[in-house]
Symmetry: C2
Subunit: 240 residues, 2 copies
């Protein structure tokens, strides 16, 4: 009897997921685009003090010309980008940590749709996906945070599992689209060596207040179109 | 002596304006685009209760299909979109009120650059321009407002001097562009019969928190590229 109840539960979950896929596809009508349903990663504690401490010589994030600061991925220290996780390790093992400890799947492709579910959960909460394209791993982090009580904000930022100089070789675009409204943010990814918090403080991310998030969300789900491209300017400079 | 001092002051002002024009042109490189330097309109009092009261039958702003609600511009009541102004009058005389009382110039062209100066002034403060294109008058209102003390936000919205059904025939785009970051908001203008406040509450405008505004501003000035187009979908429906 228990077995049949569990089977029925699994079928219901599948129908729910299928419905969420359908909703996301309805928002982003371009055929063949990968839709990724992302459930929230609940946080219990503020982790803003977890930034890597071994990077005092890192150029500031607002300085965006192509640089050639040399980092050794086996030696450079890095922290988990999730708000609640205290993990610290070397750059080359961040992706293993995310996939093994947080069971994050790695998607393939430079253009995907990120469908964050349960937007109405109380802050702080993170949504995260990893995707692999253009020879690198990228992370999209969406964070709901309350700077002022009763006024949650959403911050979406793209991070490269790599150094700031490598991040400078790419551009990314995040797009919200609903009811004849479109909000687009285009920028250069930040390195995972930077804190997510520093991007939020600098305003260097897509920021949505509660009303804007509500306007673009559909039944508590927020679909964000993502596209990553190579920054031709930096690639040319590197070749020269 | 006083005359020469005043002349010198005027020359300095001209040099300052010329420098602001140069800065805006540097940001928006498309040749021949009109740059409009917009000084703030200081406000002394909250005017959120000034919404037109004779419009209970107006469809909500989130309902965006082409409608044919009939308004008589000589009878429909409307309030000044400026935060500090208590004026109320009929729809057909709003533009006269703005040009005569607030000395707002009417610019020509569907694509212009709005250069808001003195972004660091304390809230509340409005910047406004009127422009004429596609057979109508439009207003761009940029409002700096503090919902939470010490946390000012900027809200930019486009309004049509016309009815909600007329506003539905157009789309507009606002674009901020600086240091390899671009933020774009595309939407349908709201009717000037709606309150600016209602657009802010609904999240139906470009919202910038202080950090994002700082990221895109240059020496206290914020350049916003504006483009207005006809909504072909509604035009087609009207023709059919």
């Amino acid at each position: 009897m228990l077995f049949f109840t569990q089977c029925f539960g699994a079928v219901l979950d599948l129908i729910h997921l299928r419905f969420q896929h359908y909703q996301a596809k309805r928002v982003f009508s371009s055929a063949g685009q990968l839709v990724c349903v992302v459930n929230p990663t609940l946080n219990s504690k503020h982790g803003s003090s977890r930034c890597a401490s071994s990077r005092d010589s890192t150029p500031p994030a607002t300085q965006h010309h192509c640089q050639e600061v040399v980092y050794d991925a086996k030696l450079t220290s890095c922290s988990c980008p999730l708000y609640s996780c205290k993990w610290e390790g070397h750059l080359e093992v961040v992706i293993s940590h995310l996939t093994q400890t947080h069971t994050i799947n790695i998607l393939q492709g430079a253009e995907i749709v990120f469908l964050a579910t349960d937007m109405n959960l109380p802050a702080p909460v993170d949504w995260i996906i990893a995707h692999s394209c253009l020879g690198h791993h990228f992370l999209l982090v969406l964070r709901k945070q309350e700077k002022y009580q009763g006024s949650p904000q959403f911050f979406a930022t793209m991070m490269l599992i790599g150094t700031p100089a490598q991040a400078d070789n790419f551009n990314y675009k995040l797009e919200l689209n609903r009811n004849r409204r479109r909000l687009t943010w285009e920028s250069t990814p930040r390195s995972v060596l930077d804190c997510v918090d520093s991007g939020i403080t600098d305003g260097d991310c897509l920021v949505l207040n509660a009303s804007v998030a509500q306007l673009f969300s559909d039944n508590g789900n927020l679909a964000i179109g993502i596209a990553i491209t190579t920054n031709t300017l930096c690639s040319l400079e590197t070749k020269i």
